[in-house]
């Protein structure tokens, strides 16, 4: 049975648009009605521009030769597809708040490169999604705009920092979303909400026009309902991307890093990953144990890079608007002020050593498999979560398995692979070689076509 229109994949929506079963305007109406219906619960959007969306939909419906902006090799692969973006992306004429009081009056003059690419592919932007203030945090909590809940259990977190981007998809409010990922901020909320989260190789998708959190770790990423949709979006964002469709699981060598990435992990998540590995082996993949670089200091290394970079950007606003920042973000920026330059450089040298070690590992494997998160979505307001008697801050747990790959810059995708007995999604993470984004997306698409990952839709009422 096909899912309801609001939960249909991009490829299904495109097929129905082409067949004339539904018009772009009708599609906007479907999502607009749901956005209003669930606004109080979902907290998914900070701002909307439905008038502009309807104007564009009208052009799609009534101009057979519709070809927005110019033709840059983009094949209108997203013609008439409604999407939303995290409120760090500049959309010309809309305010880019960063989820903060600090920037509530800054209207973007130009589209971010990625928004421009989406326009050129024919996609229609509905609005800007809620987030953890300036992407500083993985819980997605936001005192100003509210905390986006998990669509499967509204008392739990959607995860962050791209919380609204995950909630918007989970509540059926658009067909895809753009987010940013500095330590897992696309992949982790996607994983917790039963969606597909993808971050490309560092630098492959432009971050121009996106408010930075940490320049050398920030990636623009996508949240979608399927890996196939993620591949469509990647091609729209990077028209020069190679067309890779034929990836066979037979003979794939998949590295399994047991030491860190399977430790202190919820037992039901491990069971789901085990089942996933049984499937991969049965499909002909070779699962190979691998030893990753020492993970002991990785969080320290990441933080030592993040906070000075964040301070360096926000310094421009602190003098005039410093009082408008939330207390916890100011405290984080103050920490960035007190780190020494040598500590920052040393952290960058550790990152280089991680990359070199990963290059050696990828000489022997095609892909690496880990759980996406060690925990299911924590309750809203939870400060700490506990696994196997070991407590840690909720935000740290959510991104424990994802943040390393922001430092190494490898492409990574999370995809659902089971349901927890608590009624929340469980997801796996696949990591590919540098610049093998296309192969990774093709592999994930191949897996989802062959293995039944279909989750029940969230019961929203």
């Amino acid at each position: 049975m096909n899912p309801p229109l609001a939960f249909a994949s991009i490829s299904e929506l495109s097929r129905r648009l082409r067949a004339g079963d539904v018009s772009a305007t009708q599609l906007i109406d479907v999502y607009a009605e749901r956005i209003e219906r669930y606004a109080d619960i979902s907290k998914a959007f900070i701002s909307l521009d439905l008038e502009a969306a309807r104007r564009k939909a009208d052009m799609v419906d009534n101009s057979p030769g519709y070809n927005p902006d110019n033709n840059t090799g983009n094949q209108l692969s997203l013609k008439g597809i409604p999407y939303a973006c995290k409120d760090l992306f500049d959309v010309a004429g809309m305010v880019t708040t960063g989820g903060s009081r600090v920037l509530q009056d800054t209207i973007a003059k130009h589209d971010a490169d990625t928004i421009q690419a989406m326009n050129q592919a024919g996609a229609i932007c509905l609005g800007k999604n809620n987030l953890h203030e300036f992407a500083y945090g993985a819980t997605g909590e936001n005192a100003l705009y509210g905390t986006a809940p998990n669509p499967y259990d509204h008392s739990r977190l959607a995860g962050g920092s791209s919380s609204g981007s995950a909630a918007a998809l989970g509540f059926g409010l658009c067909a895809a979303t753009l987010g940013t990922d500095t330590g897992g901020s696309v992949r982790a909320p996607a994983a917790l909400c039963g969606l597909v989260g993808f971050k490309p190789t560092f630098g492959r998708i432009s971050t121009a026009g996106v408010l930075p959190y940490s320049w050398t770790l920030d990636h623009v990423g996508t949240l979608t309902r399927s890996a196939a949709d993620a591949a469509i979006l990647f091609k729209a964002l990077l028209p020069a991307a190679r067309d890779v469709t034929n990836v066979d699981l037979q003979g794939q060598v998949i590295g399994i890093p047991r030491e860190f990435f399977f430790a202190r992990c919820d037992s039901e998540i491990l069971d789901s990953i085990d089942a996933f590995m049984v499937f991969l082996r049965s499909a002909g993949a070779e699962l190979k144990p691998i030893s990753m670089p020492s993970m002991e200091h990785t969080r320290t290394v990441s933080l030592t890079v993040q906070m000075p970079e964040a301070l360096s950007f926000h310094n421009r606003y602190l003098e005039q608007r410093g009082h408008l920042y939330s207390q916890d973000f100011r405290a984080g920026l103050a920490l960035g002020q007190c780190l020494l330059a040598e500590q920052y450089i040393r952290a960058k040298r550790f990152i280089e050593s991680y990359r070199r070690e990963m290059d050696a590992i990828f000489a022997d494997v095609d892909t690496i498999l880990t759980p996406a998160t060690p925990v299911i979505a924590p309750p809203i307001g939870a400060v700490e979560v506990s696994v196997d008697g070991h407590s840690e801050p909720a935000g740290n747990a959510i991104t424990r398995y994802t943040s390393f790959f922001n430092m190494t810059g490898h492409p990574a995708i999370t995809l659902p692979c089971g349901m927890h007995s608590a009624g929340l999604p469980i997801s796996a993470q696949l990591i590919g070689k540098h610049y093998a984004d296309e192969q990774l997306l093709a592999l994930a698409s191949r897996i989802e076509a062959a293995y039944d990952f279909t989750l029940p839709l969230p019961e929203l009422n």
Binding site: T300, D328, C338, R346, G395
Partner: protein, 67 residues
Amino acid sequence: MQKLDKKTLIGIRDQLASYAWEDAEIAELVDPKLGIITGFQELLEQLECLRKIDLGSTPPAGDIPAK
């Protein structure tokens, strides 16, 4: 390494080029209560561990190398 105290951080604020953090924010770094990403003292102890690891001639990471 001695335990970090507020006076040191106030010195950084007042004597090095720095944004004028409030005393309460400085205190938060020394004795976190707001749920800051991590306690500064804990971070410094970990940085001290990193300092003792010999990285040889490994340079800082730049962009991902070209294909």
